[in-house]
Assembly symmetry: D3
Homo-oligomer: 287 residues x 6
């Protein structure tokens, strides 16, 4: 009976948060370790479904770079990167689409169904949700079908949400010419959150959050102002995969999103911990 | 961090139940000890608000006999009961109305507001929700304005629910002649649950549930079929306050409600325990 | 047949007014003599129901001071007033609630039902309709739970109106702390009318309207501009119960209500006379 | 003041009827004397607008035989009737259309506007409201474009009613071949009332109602059962213009309309008298 | 099969236009030759129905001067014109109404029905769609019931469009006094197009469009700016029936309509040619 | 001008069909040659968009066997078929998903966008649209994740249609266990058409239709009754790829679809030819 009481108390502790978030929109950037093991996927799916069930309009944006490289290699094609951008010829674009839309999205939709939720996977081409144009190559290199977002059209996402479906988005953009473009998923997540007027953008990564010293997990920065985040990027203090993630957060906050969170996707149920308990985890950036 | 994980796990344990109950209607009969101490009231209010926030259409029906008797006595009027029924002259009716509608309902609405919910107190006269007629007195005694329900009209309750308000109902009925009638709250709860096509009727009492031997709390009957419940009543095995409670449950189940629960209102958060954990508490009666 | 023709002509005379008021909102402040005799109550209820049936969104706000004092005295508690305000300790608050919500409102709802209308009684706590804070005591006296309105939230009233119910409002406010507050009904009526953007506020009193000389009913002021009304109050020319009534009217007009009327509640069907015939009765104040 | 009280009492007397008819549909067959003098037209328009304003879905069907004959004659064409049916060649059809749709309907719409109502005149061709086929001529005579109704399609009438407009209907039908057909207005009124599931069909004529002896106005039959009405027709006891009127009533009642009324259109405000006072006028036929 | 392919290609050629016009509103001014022969009428009706079926909100405005004069003469009344305006006494007004509303509109509704469309004929009196006032006579002549539009109220037209009906409008206006007014149909078409925020106003006439030299059909002006059109009118270069047509176009464009077209109504399917092929016909005036 | 007239005439010829199909649902099974060359894809996309623009609820179902085999081989995996069914182990399932959802669907969505339409690609897992279970292997062979449809849930397709999007469906089913299943696209098209209550199922293949003698294109069967189609299948007269196509048609017709068409996908705009001209192409099967 004591155990039951503890469980009930936990729900009661979550109540003010459930109230607070009901009716808001949250965009979750899914990627990294959380996307690898079946157990992690199951945990993320449960978190997402819980959000959906307490009335949060939940939207997922995901990447999948390593999986794309892997399929390229299996097909005898060597991935080439220029300043962190994947050079994307027509065949690479096709492979990226197959991995993101045909594999990763479908896989997550299946896990969400298993956890009791309702999801629909879409790419940025569906409903012309992510409009893009060719990225102007830095210097002389032609990056091929790498794109910059020109507009996120939230209509389809909202119409799915109204019908009770969570959109799971692969970040393929569509040009005015009908061409597909490969879009950075972190940036896209920020743009989607802004277009939806989201309450929060939650970015899952493979580190505990933003670290003052990337080699020291104890140097976690718990809270950050938008201005500080921008200064850190400008100062060149952020490197590697964290840089686009932080840029995505900045994009979201500048677009009106209230808060962005960098969470440790290796930590089971980190989304629930952040949203429904008195103690936050990871790094919170405020507009 | 371990603690956070435990909390998140708890929410995940609750998830299948949240899913299961979302969109259903639950009627809670509120009374007894749960209605006395401020702490109990706070707990019940939190439970009700959690139900509301996970998408359950929550409706409360309450009684208040002891509080009516108390005010009668303060006003120099001795309560008279015939076979468990309060003889209700015009003045008694007025006093009952003031206590139920003006005090108990308003008090609960305040607690629900404190817990973050939205509630509206109504009597059965409002919107002609509970239509009643004079109870045919047993034998020669005239019970005065004691009434039997002729019809529960769910329109107002549903229209409040659609607008996001939980109805808190005082069981005063209205006759075709416009006369007020005093209605037994347990019976009314059953009739309201039936009229709403509720998923569950949850009756709070001051005992652990239905006991085989009323003097032995260990003799709790965990599960019961409708037929068994009816047999117990017919056989005269149920006495005191439990009898109308069980009759209310029978009325609900006969009217199409799926399950009725007799819970121990003295137990904090008993409603959450029953609905959101793997182990049930109290007595469950199935149709 | 001549008689029938006279009746039909009457309806035809009322037609332009029926057209004019259809779809508008009217707030009626109910109190005084009109609230005492069964016959008066029946007349007021008929008037309200007729308004409802010709398409006027009708809302009733009522007081009940004398009835509160009476119950206090029966319970051995002496009413204390400081500058016209009832000192309201917790017990007084409870008594006020019981009388207003549990007795007067319920009674009026019954009469409206008898006259063929659909009504729902609410307090300012229901749906957090009247938000209030503690009145800053004049001088050193603590008035207890006497409150000032901080906001009228019209949501519940409108949602009841949309569903075809007339709201009958007891002026109990709710504080951010969940505390109940005793609110002057005349002031509340003005604030409710303003929050609803009402066409008219109609205040029933026990005099023919605003009198230049309170002792001479022939000194009735038929029409008044808002500025004049404010000057009269400021000049200290208005005394007794008429002062808060006139203040309520001023509040309504300043909040955008088009006209306020002070009518003689002792006159049967005075509301219909004012609204549906070519000759006005009482005092009309224009914004 | 006494006069005001009398007026208010009148409204109160009408209240139960206003309640009773609110939300119902009433079809008024307009014709005869009521359609001639400006004063009569004004009275009928006021009655119709009052009905509209107290929430009755009001629909008007009108004829106009004498006006058609008159224009024919002015154009040098002699009207020919066979067994009461106007032989309708193409030119006659054109003339009928001009008189009914272009003159009588437009005139009534103007009067309704003057009385404060909102109306739209339609013919049975508009929205294919009255579908018809050529009447099988009795014997060898070809009646030309005289038609029998095959179906009344209530869609347009209902969509106008939803938008707040009263339909004023000229009884021109449309064949599958697109041909116009001249339809008896009394019959059409019955069919329209049936198709709309009207509460009442009210037929205005130039006599006090159904008379046992057509030459004696004192022989008025106040009430009649459907069966009796059918027997009267079958027995050949009804002659002249009253026959199609009574047949229209029978058609309406057989189609589910609750009551049909034959009123004296010469009597100002006869519709209001019938609907809103305790005493009926004319003949009432019950299903 | 080659033929089938040609047909399919034609549809594909029309596709971009179908897309472009879907959901827009187009007002067609119908008159002149197109209104005379049955074949022309059938063609226009087919065009209108095609517009309706590809999702264009289609509205027709028509005149009918020659038909009015003709009926006047048959009734022994000589038409009188002052500066191009028909002097309109009460009898003339009645005749105009009968011809426009009762004959021409009804006739077109029949043809639209035959072509598979859904139409409802209305006059400017119905739903008070065209409000007008007496035209100030030029000089001393009293033109009688000739009116100027004071306001076009698009409510009824829009509510018919929402219900799937094309409004066919006779340009009779209604004064505040309830009086009918004869309104120039070209002007009215412009005002209706402006009030509806139409995409296009399409005016059918009996010439190929605006001609630089009215006697030379080869002098067609294909495109014109609003300013040029106004200059032409001001310069007195436009005469006869083309002047009010061009004024109607100017009125529409000044009221926000994007483009106005003057088409040759003698040319079968000229509306389809203009809207759905790569080559325009007639004169296009741009705002 | 003659050319313009021909074009307009073509639209007019199409009008009765546009009318007839407006508002109906049509399911197009896309596959074979039509899915190979860019020109064919463009033609099909144009046809689909035209359907969408004339108000047909258009739904596409596609297969992609050859493309799956091709990617398998490139990844060093030999396709194995047993009685026409692809043996589908986990890796094959993954590959099939990538090809169908990530490549073919996305490609078609891009072409539809280019042709001016609005489309969303979904798999049967999205929104649990196609529920499936493991196919009972014929004999001892385990076909792996090859599935039979247990239910088509049309909710998501309908909610996309209401929002103006054409669903493009990859026939991956989802099991109760969350497992993905490979579903025959012809069968799935029939089941989807039945679940939607479609007007027509249109199946594109690489032959002119159903041939009496597969080696002789002149032996085309133009029309067929459902019973005859079933007899042909039962009699073993249908072989190869045509068999599942015909079975899909039978499934659709048995489920209430009115007609099924087998068209030659190699013929440009064959869908438009069938739907909008007087001559049909291919084989039509009627229920």
């Amino acid at each position: 009976m004591k155990d039951l009481r503890a469980k009930a108390d936990m729900l009661v502790e979550a109540l003010p948060y459930i109230r607070q978030w009901a009716g808001t929109t949250m965009v979750v950037k899914y990627g990294g370790a959380a996307m690898v093991s079946p157990e992690h996927k199951r945990h993320v799916a449960q978190d997402l479904v819980l959000l959906q069930h307490v009335g949060i309009k939940t939207v997922v944006v995901h990447g999948g770079g390593p999986r794309i490289s892997e399929l390229m290699q299996r097909l005898g094609k060597e991935p080439v990167f220029v300043e962190g951008q994947r050079v994307t010829d027509a065949e690479t674009m096709e492979i990226a689409q197959m991995v993101l839309v045909g594999s990763i999205s479908q896989d997550l939709v299946g896990h969400i169904y298993q956890a009791g939720g309702r999801a629909v996977s879409i790419s940025g081409k569906d409903g012309q949700t992510i409009r893009a144009k060719k990225k102007r190559g830095a210097g002389e290199v032609d990056l091929g079908q790498v794109g910059d977002i020109t507009e996120v059209n939230p209509e389809l996402i909202l119409s799915l949400a109204d019908a009770g479906y969570m959109a799971v988005i692969s970040t393929i953009g569509i040009g005015e010419d009908g061409m597909s473009y490969n879009i950075n998923a972190d940036t896209a997540a920020g743009a989607v959150a802004a277009a939806l007027g989201a309450e929060k953008l939650i970015v899952l990564s493979d580190v505990p959050g933003l670290l003052r010293d990337p080699s020291d997990e104890a140097s976690l920065i718990s809270e950050l102002k938008l201005d500080e985040a921008k200064a850190l990027i400008k100062g060149g203090h952020i490197e590697g995969g964290m840089k686009p993630k932080l840029q995505g957060c900045v994009k979201a906050l500048e677009g009106g999103v209230k808060r962005a969170h960098l969470l440790d996707g290796r930590l089971a149920h980190c989304i629930l911990m952040e949203l429904f308990t008195d103690r936050g985890v990871g790094t919170m950036i405020e507009g």
